[in-house]
Protein backbone atom coordinates (compact mmCIF):
# COMPACT_ATOMS: atom_id res chain seq x y z
CA UNK A 1 0.00 0.00 0.00
CA UNK A 2 1.34 3.43 -0.79
CA UNK A 3 3.60 5.37 -0.97
CA UNK A 4 0.93 7.59 -2.45
CA UNK A 5 -2.33 6.43 -1.00
CA UNK A 6 -4.85 9.04 0.09
CA UNK A 7 -5.09 7.59 3.58
CA UNK A 8 -1.40 7.67 4.37
CA UNK A 9 -1.35 11.43 4.91
CA UNK A 10 1.88 11.87 3.07
CA UNK A 11 4.26 9.36 1.65
CA UNK A 12 4.17 6.21 3.70
CA UNK A 13 4.49 2.80 2.12
CA UNK A 14 3.10 -0.14 4.03
CA UNK A 15 3.94 -3.66 2.95
CA UNK A 16 1.16 -5.93 4.13
CA UNK A 17 1.25 -9.68 4.45
CA UNK A 18 -2.24 -11.01 3.91
CA UNK A 19 -4.19 -14.17 4.44
CA UNK A 20 -7.22 -13.43 2.30
CA UNK A 21 -8.55 -10.19 3.74
CA UNK A 22 -6.71 -10.57 7.03
CA UNK A 23 -3.44 -8.86 7.82
CA UNK A 24 -0.89 -11.25 9.23
CA UNK A 25 2.11 -8.94 9.19
CA UNK A 26 3.23 -5.52 8.06
CA UNK A 27 6.27 -3.43 7.44
CA UNK A 28 6.37 0.34 7.19
CA UNK A 29 8.73 1.76 4.59
CA UNK A 30 9.55 5.34 5.49
CA UNK A 31 12.10 7.96 4.59
CA UNK A 32 10.51 9.48 1.50
CA UNK A 33 10.48 12.90 3.15
CA UNK A 34 13.90 12.67 4.78
CA UNK A 35 15.63 16.02 4.57
CA UNK A 36 18.40 15.57 7.12
CA UNK A 37 17.04 18.11 9.58
CA UNK A 38 19.46 17.02 12.29
CA UNK A 39 22.42 17.52 9.96
CA UNK A 40 21.17 20.95 8.96
CA UNK A 41 21.00 21.89 12.65
CA UNK A 42 24.72 21.27 13.05
CA UNK A 43 25.44 23.73 10.27
CA UNK A 44 23.26 26.61 11.43
CA UNK A 45 23.35 28.86 14.47
CA UNK A 46 20.89 28.25 17.27
CA UNK A 47 18.54 30.97 16.02
CA UNK A 48 18.87 30.04 12.38
CA UNK A 49 17.71 26.51 13.02
CA UNK A 50 14.50 27.56 14.79
CA UNK A 51 12.40 27.93 11.60
CA UNK A 52 13.44 24.48 10.42
CA UNK A 53 11.68 22.72 13.30
CA UNK A 54 8.35 24.09 12.05
CA UNK A 55 8.77 21.93 8.98
CA UNK A 56 8.79 18.63 10.80
CA UNK A 57 5.28 18.34 12.18
CA UNK A 58 3.94 20.94 9.79
CA UNK A 59 0.41 20.83 11.14
CA UNK A 60 1.63 21.74 14.63
CA UNK A 61 4.50 24.12 14.00
CA UNK A 62 3.88 26.15 17.14
CA UNK A 63 4.42 23.10 19.36
CA UNK A 64 7.67 22.24 17.60
CA UNK A 65 8.90 25.77 18.09
CA UNK A 66 8.00 25.76 21.76
CA UNK A 67 9.96 22.57 22.39
CA UNK A 68 13.02 23.82 20.55
CA UNK A 69 13.05 27.26 22.16
CA UNK A 70 12.61 25.81 25.64
CA UNK A 71 15.36 23.26 25.09
CA UNK A 72 17.82 25.97 24.04
CA UNK A 73 16.71 28.15 26.95
CA UNK A 74 17.49 25.27 29.30
CA UNK A 75 20.87 24.91 27.65
CA UNK A 76 21.51 28.65 28.07
CA UNK A 77 20.12 28.65 31.61
CA UNK A 78 17.66 31.43 30.85
CA UNK A 79 13.93 31.51 31.39
CA UNK A 80 11.32 33.19 29.27
CA UNK A 81 9.45 35.99 31.10
CA UNK A 82 6.02 35.11 32.59
CA UNK A 83 4.11 37.06 29.96
CA UNK A 84 5.85 35.19 27.16
CA UNK A 85 5.17 31.88 28.84
CA UNK A 86 1.44 32.53 29.08
CA UNK A 87 1.14 33.67 25.47
CA UNK A 88 3.15 30.63 24.41
CA UNK A 89 0.75 28.40 26.33
CA UNK A 90 -2.31 29.92 24.65
CA UNK A 91 -0.88 29.60 21.16
CA UNK A 92 0.32 26.06 21.77
CA UNK A 93 -3.07 24.95 23.05
CA UNK A 94 -4.79 26.53 20.06
CA UNK A 95 -2.33 24.64 17.88
CA UNK A 96 -3.18 21.42 19.68
CA UNK A 97 -6.85 21.96 18.91
CA UNK A 98 -5.99 22.72 15.27
CA UNK A 99 -3.87 19.59 15.01
CA UNK A 100 -6.58 17.42 16.56
CA UNK A 101 -9.18 18.95 14.24
CA UNK A 102 -7.13 18.09 11.20
CA UNK A 103 -6.70 14.60 12.56
CA UNK A 104 -10.42 14.22 13.23
CA UNK A 105 -11.45 15.46 9.80
CA UNK A 106 -9.04 13.28 7.84
CA UNK A 107 -9.46 10.24 10.08
CA UNK A 108 -13.24 10.36 9.65
CA UNK A 109 -12.77 10.89 5.92
CA UNK A 110 -10.58 7.80 5.69
CA UNK A 111 -13.25 5.74 7.37
CA UNK A 112 -15.93 7.11 5.08
CA UNK A 113 -17.54 9.95 7.02
CA UNK A 114 -17.18 12.91 4.71
CA UNK A 115 -19.05 15.56 6.68
CA UNK A 116 -16.84 16.08 9.77
CA UNK A 117 -13.98 17.30 7.58
CA UNK A 118 -15.88 20.44 6.61
CA UNK A 119 -16.87 21.20 10.17
CA UNK A 120 -13.33 20.64 11.43
CA UNK A 121 -11.78 22.87 8.80
CA UNK A 122 -14.25 25.62 9.64
CA UNK A 123 -12.92 25.81 13.22
CA UNK A 124 -9.33 25.16 12.26
CA UNK A 125 -9.53 28.15 9.96
CA UNK A 126 -10.43 30.35 12.93
CA UNK A 127 -7.32 29.18 14.78
CA UNK A 128 -5.10 29.71 11.75
CA UNK A 129 -6.50 33.23 11.45
CA UNK A 130 -5.47 33.94 15.03
CA UNK A 131 -1.98 32.57 14.32
CA UNK A 132 -1.79 34.62 11.15
CA UNK A 133 -2.81 37.78 12.95
CA UNK A 134 -0.23 37.05 15.61
CA UNK A 135 2.84 36.25 13.55
CA UNK A 136 1.89 36.56 9.90
CA UNK A 137 2.02 32.89 9.00
CA UNK A 138 -0.56 30.18 9.15
CA UNK A 139 1.36 26.94 9.05
CA UNK A 140 5.09 27.30 9.43
CA UNK A 141 4.72 30.02 12.00
CA UNK A 142 8.09 30.44 13.73
CA UNK A 143 6.00 32.10 16.43
CA UNK A 144 8.51 31.96 19.28
CA UNK A 145 12.09 33.03 19.77
CA UNK A 146 14.77 31.66 22.03
CA UNK A 147 14.23 33.57 25.28
CA UNK A 148 10.59 34.47 24.74
CA UNK A 149 8.64 36.05 21.93
CA UNK A 150 9.38 38.33 19.04
CA UNK A 151 5.93 39.87 18.75
CA UNK A 152 3.65 41.31 21.39
CA UNK A 153 0.09 39.94 21.36
CA UNK A 154 -1.96 42.06 18.96
CA UNK A 155 -4.72 44.35 20.26
CA UNK A 156 -7.70 42.06 20.02
CA UNK A 157 -5.81 38.85 20.74
CA UNK A 158 -7.65 38.01 23.95
CA UNK A 159 -10.99 38.83 22.38
CA UNK A 160 -10.32 36.64 19.36
CA UNK A 161 -9.25 33.71 21.52
CA UNK A 162 -12.23 34.19 23.81
CA UNK A 163 -14.65 34.30 20.92
CA UNK A 164 -13.17 31.17 19.44
CA UNK A 165 -13.37 29.35 22.76
CA UNK A 166 -16.98 30.43 23.33
CA UNK A 167 -18.03 29.12 19.92
CA UNK A 168 -15.92 26.02 20.11
CA UNK A 169 -17.82 24.49 23.03
CA UNK A 170 -20.91 23.86 20.91
CA UNK A 171 -18.80 22.91 17.91
CA UNK A 172 -17.30 19.90 19.68
CA UNK A 173 -20.85 18.82 20.44
CA UNK A 174 -21.59 19.04 16.74
CA UNK A 175 -18.73 16.71 15.87
CA UNK A 176 -19.86 14.31 18.53
CA UNK A 177 -23.44 14.20 17.23
CA UNK A 178 -22.00 13.20 13.88
CA UNK A 179 -19.77 10.44 15.19
CA UNK A 180 -19.88 9.36 18.83
CA UNK A 181 -23.12 7.38 18.68
CA UNK A 182 -23.02 6.75 14.97
CA UNK A 183 -23.41 3.01 14.42
CA UNK A 184 -21.14 2.90 11.41
CA UNK A 185 -18.46 4.88 13.23
CA UNK A 186 -18.66 2.58 16.24
CA UNK A 187 -18.57 -0.48 14.01
CA UNK A 188 -15.47 0.76 12.23
CA UNK A 189 -13.54 1.86 15.33
CA UNK A 190 -14.57 -0.18 18.39
CA UNK A 191 -12.22 -3.07 19.03
CA UNK A 192 -9.99 -2.04 16.12
CA UNK A 193 -6.26 -1.68 16.65
CA UNK A 194 -6.18 -2.47 20.34
CA UNK A 195 -2.93 -1.55 22.08
CA UNK A 196 -2.47 -2.64 25.69
CA UNK A 197 -0.84 -0.34 28.20
CA UNK A 198 2.16 -2.70 28.55
CA UNK A 199 2.73 -2.78 24.81
CA UNK A 200 2.32 0.97 24.54
CA UNK A 201 5.00 1.58 27.15
CA UNK A 202 7.34 -1.03 25.67
CA UNK A 203 7.05 0.63 22.27
CA UNK A 204 7.64 4.05 23.79
CA UNK A 205 4.25 5.22 22.55
CA UNK A 206 3.21 8.57 24.04
CA UNK A 207 0.49 11.17 23.76
CA UNK A 208 -3.19 10.44 23.16
CA UNK A 209 -2.40 6.91 21.96
CA UNK A 210 -0.79 6.05 25.30
CA UNK A 211 -3.56 7.72 27.28
CA UNK A 212 -6.24 5.84 25.37
CA UNK A 213 -4.57 2.64 26.57
CA UNK A 214 -5.28 3.74 30.14
CA UNK A 215 -1.98 5.34 31.18
CA UNK A 216 -2.65 8.68 32.79
CA UNK A 217 0.49 10.47 31.75
CA UNK A 218 0.83 13.90 30.26
CA UNK A 219 4.08 15.89 30.32
CA UNK A 220 2.08 19.06 30.94
CA UNK A 221 1.31 17.57 34.37
CA UNK A 222 4.32 15.31 34.97
CA UNK A 223 6.95 17.98 34.27
CA UNK A 224 5.13 21.27 33.69
CA UNK A 225 6.71 23.69 31.23
CA UNK A 226 5.60 27.06 29.81
CA UNK A 227 2.77 28.13 32.15
CA UNK A 228 0.90 24.86 32.54
CA UNK A 229 1.42 24.67 36.28
CA UNK A 230 -0.96 27.63 36.69
CA UNK A 231 -3.98 26.06 35.04
CA UNK A 232 -6.40 23.36 35.91
CA UNK A 233 -7.22 20.68 33.43
CA UNK A 234 -7.95 16.99 33.35
CA UNK A 235 -6.06 14.23 31.57
CA UNK A 236 -8.58 12.08 29.73
CA UNK A 237 -7.79 8.37 29.59
CA UNK A 238 -9.33 5.43 27.78
CA UNK A 239 -9.93 1.91 28.94
CA UNK A 240 -9.48 -0.54 26.08
CA UNK A 241 -6.94 1.26 23.91
CA UNK A 242 -8.88 0.80 20.68
CA UNK A 243 -9.47 3.27 17.88
CA UNK A 244 -12.74 4.43 19.43
CA UNK A 245 -11.03 5.21 22.74
CA UNK A 246 -8.35 7.21 21.00
CA UNK A 247 -11.11 9.15 19.30
CA UNK A 248 -12.80 9.90 22.65
CA UNK A 249 -9.51 10.88 24.29
CA UNK A 250 -8.68 13.40 21.57
CA UNK A 251 -12.19 14.87 21.66
CA UNK A 252 -11.88 15.44 25.39
CA UNK A 253 -8.37 16.86 24.97
CA UNK A 254 -9.75 19.52 22.66
CA UNK A 255 -12.25 20.48 25.36
CA UNK A 256 -9.48 20.63 27.96
CA UNK A 257 -7.28 22.76 25.69
CA UNK A 258 -10.19 25.15 25.30
CA UNK A 259 -10.45 25.41 29.10
CA UNK A 260 -6.73 26.12 29.39
CA UNK A 261 -7.02 28.93 26.82
CA UNK A 262 -9.97 30.44 28.68
CA UNK A 263 -8.06 30.38 31.98
CA UNK A 264 -4.97 31.83 30.37
CA UNK A 265 -6.55 34.82 28.65
CA UNK A 266 -8.16 35.89 31.93
CA UNK A 267 -4.81 36.91 33.27
CA UNK A 268 -1.93 37.54 30.91
CA UNK A 269 0.67 39.14 33.16
CA UNK A 270 2.24 42.41 32.00
CA UNK A 271 5.96 42.77 31.50
CA UNK A 272 8.65 42.05 28.95
CA UNK A 273 8.22 39.27 26.40
CA UNK A 274 11.86 38.51 25.69
CA UNK A 275 14.54 37.59 28.19
CA UNK A 276 17.98 39.15 27.78
CA UNK A 277 19.74 36.55 25.71
CA UNK A 278 22.03 38.63 23.54
CA UNK A 279 22.41 38.45 19.80
CA UNK A 280 25.08 35.80 19.68
CA UNK A 281 24.01 32.65 21.47
CA UNK A 282 26.85 30.55 22.79
CA UNK A 283 25.46 28.12 25.34
CA UNK A 284 28.03 26.80 27.80
CA UNK A 285 29.27 23.34 26.80
CA UNK A 286 27.04 20.52 27.87
CA UNK A 287 23.82 18.85 26.93
CA UNK A 288 20.16 18.89 27.71
CA UNK A 289 17.08 16.80 26.98
CA UNK A 290 13.82 18.67 27.02
CA UNK A 291 10.45 17.17 26.21
CA UNK A 292 7.04 18.73 25.78
CA UNK A 293 3.62 17.23 25.26
CA UNK A 294 3.05 17.81 21.57
CA UNK A 295 -0.34 17.09 20.00
CA UNK A 296 1.00 13.69 18.95
CA UNK A 297 3.02 12.75 22.00
CA UNK A 298 6.36 13.36 23.64
CA UNK A 299 8.29 15.79 21.50
CA UNK A 300 11.84 15.79 22.81
CA UNK A 301 14.97 17.73 21.91
CA UNK A 302 18.37 16.44 22.93
CA UNK A 303 20.83 19.24 22.26
CA UNK A 304 24.59 19.08 22.76
CA UNK A 305 26.58 22.30 22.89
CA UNK A 306 30.33 22.63 22.46
CA UNK A 307 30.30 26.30 23.41
CA UNK A 308 30.17 27.68 19.87
CA UNK A 309 27.37 29.48 18.05
CA UNK A 310 26.27 26.30 16.31
CA UNK A 311 24.76 23.32 18.06
CA UNK A 312 27.11 20.34 18.12
CA UNK A 313 24.21 17.95 17.83
CA UNK A 314 20.44 18.33 17.81
CA UNK A 315 18.48 15.14 18.16
CA UNK A 316 14.74 15.41 17.75
CA UNK A 317 12.63 12.74 19.38
CA UNK A 318 9.68 12.62 17.02
CA UNK A 319 6.46 11.26 18.53
CA UNK A 320 5.07 10.22 15.13
CA UNK A 321 8.11 8.08 14.28
CA UNK A 322 8.04 6.22 17.55
CA UNK A 323 4.26 5.83 17.71
CA UNK A 324 4.25 4.42 14.18
CA UNK A 325 6.40 1.53 15.40
CA UNK A 326 3.40 0.13 17.27
CA UNK A 327 1.43 -0.01 14.00
CA UNK A 328 2.44 -3.60 13.30
CA UNK A 329 1.24 -4.73 16.72
CA UNK A 330 -2.07 -2.90 16.24
CA UNK A 331 -2.83 -4.06 12.72
CA UNK A 332 -2.27 -7.81 13.00
CA UNK A 333 -5.44 -9.86 12.72
CA UNK A 334 -7.51 -7.04 11.28
CA UNK A 335 -9.00 -6.66 7.82
CA UNK A 336 -7.38 -4.66 5.05
CA UNK A 337 -10.15 -2.09 5.35
CA UNK A 338 -9.13 -1.45 8.96
CA UNK A 339 -5.57 -0.56 8.00
CA UNK A 340 -6.58 2.96 7.03
CA UNK A 341 -8.43 3.36 10.32
CA UNK A 342 -5.33 2.32 12.24
CA UNK A 343 -2.94 4.55 10.31
CA UNK A 344 -5.32 7.42 10.95
CA UNK A 345 -5.75 6.73 14.64
CA UNK A 346 -2.01 6.91 15.38
CA UNK A 347 -2.07 10.45 13.97
CA UNK A 348 1.25 10.58 12.17
CA UNK A 349 2.75 13.38 10.15
CA UNK A 350 5.30 12.07 7.69
CA UNK A 351 7.34 15.24 7.79
CA UNK A 352 8.10 14.39 11.38
CA UNK A 353 8.51 10.65 10.86
CA UNK A 354 11.17 11.19 8.20
CA UNK A 355 12.64 14.55 9.25
Amino acid sequence: MGPQHPSTHGVLRVVLKLDGERVTGSECVIGYLHRGVEKIAENRTYQQFAPYVDRMDYVAAVSNGLGYCEAIEKLLLVEAPPRARVIRTILTELQRIASHLLWLGTHALDIGALTPLFYCFREREEILKILEKYCGARLTTHAFRIGGLQYEAYDTFEKDVERFCKDFESRVVEYETLLTNNRIWIGRTKGIGILSAEDAIAFGVTGPVLRASGVKWDIRKAAPYAAYDQYQFEIPVGTTGDTYDRYLVRMEEMRQSRLICLQAIENIPPGPILAKVGKVLKPPPGEVYHAIEGPKGELGYYVVSDGTVQPYRVRIRPPSFINLQAFDRMVRGHLVADVVAIIGTIDIVLGEVDR
Binding site: G36, E42, L77, G136, L139, G204, Y289, Y302
Partner: protein, 223 residues
Protein backbone atom coordinates in the same frame (compact mmCIF):
# COMPACT_ATOMS: atom_id res chain seq x y z
CA UNK B 1 -3.26 22.61 -0.04
CA UNK B 2 -5.08 25.83 0.78
CA UNK B 3 -2.74 26.20 3.69
CA UNK B 4 0.22 27.72 1.92
CA UNK B 5 1.78 30.18 4.35
CA UNK B 6 0.74 33.66 3.34
CA UNK B 7 3.02 36.64 3.10
CA UNK B 8 4.24 37.46 6.57
CA UNK B 9 3.23 40.90 7.81
CA UNK B 10 6.33 41.63 9.89
CA UNK B 11 9.67 42.18 8.13
CA UNK B 12 11.98 39.28 7.39
CA UNK B 13 13.34 36.88 9.99
CA UNK B 14 15.05 39.11 12.52
CA UNK B 15 17.67 36.61 13.60
CA UNK B 16 19.16 36.45 10.14
CA UNK B 17 22.14 38.78 10.31
CA UNK B 18 24.35 36.67 12.52
CA UNK B 19 28.11 36.51 12.05
CA UNK B 20 27.83 32.79 11.41
CA UNK B 21 25.42 33.00 8.51
CA UNK B 22 27.92 31.14 6.40
CA UNK B 23 27.98 27.60 7.70
CA UNK B 24 31.74 27.34 7.73
CA UNK B 25 33.99 26.76 10.72
CA UNK B 26 35.64 30.11 10.02
CA UNK B 27 32.69 31.91 11.57
CA UNK B 28 33.32 30.40 14.98
CA UNK B 29 36.58 32.14 15.89
CA UNK B 30 35.28 35.57 14.84
CA UNK B 31 32.26 35.17 17.02
CA UNK B 32 34.45 34.00 19.86
CA UNK B 33 36.67 37.05 19.83
CA UNK B 34 33.83 39.53 19.50
CA UNK B 35 31.57 38.26 22.27
CA UNK B 36 33.68 38.72 25.43
CA UNK B 37 34.56 42.31 24.48
CA UNK B 38 30.94 43.30 23.87
CA UNK B 39 28.95 44.84 26.72
CA UNK B 40 26.29 42.16 26.42
CA UNK B 41 27.77 39.28 28.50
CA UNK B 42 27.22 40.69 32.02
CA UNK B 43 23.50 40.96 31.29
CA UNK B 44 23.37 37.32 30.27
CA UNK B 45 22.57 35.27 33.33
CA UNK B 46 24.09 32.20 31.76
CA UNK B 47 27.34 33.31 30.15
CA UNK B 48 30.47 32.81 32.22
CA UNK B 49 31.04 36.58 32.33
CA UNK B 50 34.36 37.85 33.74
CA UNK B 51 33.03 39.34 37.02
CA UNK B 52 31.10 36.20 37.98
CA UNK B 53 32.73 32.89 38.78
CA UNK B 54 32.00 30.41 35.99
CA UNK B 55 28.86 28.40 36.60
CA UNK B 56 29.60 24.75 37.21
CA UNK B 57 27.13 22.83 35.07
CA UNK B 58 28.58 19.36 35.15
CA UNK B 59 28.80 17.94 38.63
CA UNK B 60 29.52 14.39 39.79
CA UNK B 61 26.36 12.60 40.83
CA UNK B 62 26.31 10.50 43.95
CA UNK B 63 22.92 9.46 45.23
CA UNK B 64 21.30 6.24 46.36
CA UNK B 65 20.47 5.14 42.85
CA UNK B 66 24.07 5.57 41.74
CA UNK B 67 25.26 3.61 44.78
CA UNK B 68 22.91 0.78 43.86
CA UNK B 69 24.25 0.80 40.31
CA UNK B 70 27.84 0.80 41.55
CA UNK B 71 27.15 -1.99 44.02
CA UNK B 72 25.60 -4.11 41.29
CA UNK B 73 27.92 -3.39 38.37
CA UNK B 74 31.08 -2.00 39.98
CA UNK B 75 33.58 -0.88 37.39
CA UNK B 76 31.06 -1.08 34.56
CA UNK B 77 29.61 2.24 35.75
CA UNK B 78 32.38 4.45 34.41
CA UNK B 79 31.01 7.80 35.51
CA UNK B 80 27.92 9.27 37.15
CA UNK B 81 27.25 12.93 36.60
CA UNK B 82 24.66 15.65 36.35
CA UNK B 83 24.46 18.22 33.60
CA UNK B 84 21.96 21.02 34.19
CA UNK B 85 20.36 18.85 36.87
CA UNK B 86 19.81 15.92 34.49
CA UNK B 87 21.25 12.59 35.62
CA UNK B 88 23.71 10.84 33.31
CA UNK B 89 25.35 7.44 33.75
CA UNK B 90 28.25 6.49 31.52
CA UNK B 91 28.45 2.73 31.35
CA UNK B 92 30.66 0.07 29.86
CA UNK B 93 29.58 -0.61 26.29
CA UNK B 94 30.01 -4.38 26.56
CA UNK B 95 27.55 -4.63 29.46
CA UNK B 96 24.98 -2.16 28.14
CA UNK B 97 22.17 -4.68 27.56
CA UNK B 98 22.59 -6.18 31.00
CA UNK B 99 22.60 -2.76 32.67
CA UNK B 100 19.59 -1.75 30.60
CA UNK B 101 17.62 -4.74 31.82
CA UNK B 102 18.45 -3.92 35.43
CA UNK B 103 17.52 -0.26 34.86
CA UNK B 104 14.14 -1.27 33.51
CA UNK B 105 13.23 -3.94 36.05
CA UNK B 106 14.85 -2.82 39.29
CA UNK B 107 15.10 0.92 38.89
CA UNK B 108 11.72 1.07 37.09
CA UNK B 109 12.72 3.07 34.05
CA UNK B 110 9.98 1.43 32.02
CA UNK B 111 10.13 3.58 28.93
CA UNK B 112 12.90 4.23 26.45
CA UNK B 113 12.09 7.75 25.29
CA UNK B 114 14.87 8.02 22.82
CA UNK B 115 18.04 6.34 21.61
CA UNK B 116 20.57 8.23 19.58
CA UNK B 117 24.28 8.83 19.10
CA UNK B 118 26.77 11.68 19.04
CA UNK B 119 29.99 11.67 17.03
CA UNK B 120 33.21 13.05 18.55
CA UNK B 121 35.75 12.18 15.84
CA UNK B 122 38.79 13.42 17.77
CA UNK B 123 38.15 11.10 20.68
CA UNK B 124 39.69 7.66 20.81
CA UNK B 125 36.21 6.14 21.09
CA UNK B 126 34.39 8.47 18.78
CA UNK B 127 30.74 7.60 19.38
CA UNK B 128 28.44 8.18 22.30
CA UNK B 129 25.37 5.98 22.20
CA UNK B 130 22.78 7.86 24.24
CA UNK B 131 19.63 6.38 25.79
CA UNK B 132 17.07 8.73 27.30
CA UNK B 133 14.89 6.84 29.76
CA UNK B 134 11.77 7.72 31.65
CA UNK B 135 10.28 6.19 34.78
CA UNK B 136 6.53 6.43 35.24
CA UNK B 137 6.83 5.13 38.80
CA UNK B 138 9.28 7.84 39.86
CA UNK B 139 8.52 10.55 37.30
CA UNK B 140 12.22 10.85 36.63
CA UNK B 141 14.47 10.79 33.62
CA UNK B 142 17.86 9.13 33.31
CA UNK B 143 20.38 9.16 30.51
CA UNK B 144 22.61 6.16 29.84
CA UNK B 145 25.66 6.62 27.67
CA UNK B 146 28.15 4.18 26.24
CA UNK B 147 31.30 5.02 24.30
CA UNK B 148 32.11 3.06 21.16
CA UNK B 149 35.03 3.30 18.76
CA UNK B 150 34.50 3.16 14.99
CA UNK B 151 33.75 -0.44 14.10
CA UNK B 152 33.00 -1.51 17.64
CA UNK B 153 29.65 -3.18 18.04
CA UNK B 154 27.16 -2.15 20.70
CA UNK B 155 24.80 -4.67 22.34
CA UNK B 156 21.23 -4.08 21.19
CA UNK B 157 18.57 -3.23 23.78
CA UNK B 158 15.61 -4.29 21.63
CA UNK B 159 15.13 -7.20 24.04
CA UNK B 160 14.66 -4.72 26.86
CA UNK B 161 12.61 -1.99 25.20
CA UNK B 162 10.81 -2.75 21.92
CA UNK B 163 11.03 0.94 21.09
CA UNK B 164 14.74 0.49 20.41
CA UNK B 165 14.03 -1.38 17.16
CA UNK B 166 13.58 1.58 14.83
CA UNK B 167 15.76 3.87 16.93
CA UNK B 168 18.78 1.57 16.63
CA UNK B 169 18.11 1.21 12.93
CA UNK B 170 18.17 4.98 12.63
CA UNK B 171 21.48 5.20 14.49
CA UNK B 172 22.89 2.49 12.22
CA UNK B 173 21.57 4.41 9.22
CA UNK B 174 23.01 7.77 10.25
CA UNK B 175 26.21 6.77 12.10
CA UNK B 176 27.02 3.26 10.97
CA UNK B 177 27.05 1.86 14.48
CA UNK B 178 26.26 -1.85 14.48
CA UNK B 179 24.03 -3.22 17.23
CA UNK B 180 24.64 -6.87 18.01
CA UNK B 181 21.50 -8.88 18.57
CA UNK B 182 19.22 -6.52 16.65
CA UNK B 183 16.59 -8.61 14.81
CA UNK B 184 16.48 -6.57 11.60
CA UNK B 185 19.38 -4.15 11.37
CA UNK B 186 19.07 -2.28 8.07
CA UNK B 187 18.75 1.31 6.97
CA UNK B 188 15.45 2.98 7.77
CA UNK B 189 15.33 6.53 6.43
CA UNK B 190 17.87 6.30 3.62
CA UNK B 191 17.71 3.81 0.74
CA UNK B 192 19.19 0.40 1.53
CA UNK B 193 22.01 0.75 -1.02
CA UNK B 194 23.13 4.21 0.15
CA UNK B 195 26.85 4.57 0.84
CA UNK B 196 28.07 6.63 3.80
CA UNK B 197 26.69 7.71 7.15
CA UNK B 198 25.39 11.29 7.04
CA UNK B 199 25.42 12.26 10.70
CA UNK B 200 29.11 11.49 11.12
CA UNK B 201 31.05 14.69 11.52
CA UNK B 202 33.34 13.91 8.59
CA UNK B 203 30.34 13.67 6.24
CA UNK B 204 29.92 17.12 4.73
CA UNK B 205 26.49 18.72 4.60
CA UNK B 206 26.64 18.95 0.81
CA UNK B 207 27.96 15.44 0.38
CA UNK B 208 25.75 12.68 -0.92
CA UNK B 209 25.93 9.32 -2.59
CA UNK B 210 26.31 10.70 -6.11
CA UNK B 211 26.37 7.29 -7.75
CA UNK B 212 23.07 6.33 -6.13
CA UNK B 213 21.48 9.62 -7.07
CA UNK B 214 22.62 9.32 -10.68
CA UNK B 215 21.44 5.76 -10.99
CA UNK B 216 18.09 6.05 -9.24
CA UNK B 217 16.99 9.61 -9.78
CA UNK B 218 18.63 10.15 -13.15
CA UNK B 219 20.14 13.49 -12.18
CA UNK B 220 23.62 14.73 -11.50
CA UNK B 221 24.06 15.36 -7.81
CA UNK B 222 23.90 18.97 -6.79
CA UNK B 223 20.87 19.62 -8.93
Amino acid sequence: MADEPKQPQPPAVPTGEKPASTPSPVSTPTAKTSAPGAPAPPAKPSAPAPPKPPVVLQTPLDNEMVSRFRAKFGGAILEAMEDRKQAILIVDRARLAEIALYTRDEEKFEMLSDLTAVDWPKREKRFDVVLNLYSFARNERLRLKAHAADGEEVPSVVGVWLAADWLEREVFDMFGIVFTGHPNLKRILLPDEWQGYPLRKDYDILQQDTAWVRENLGIESGQ
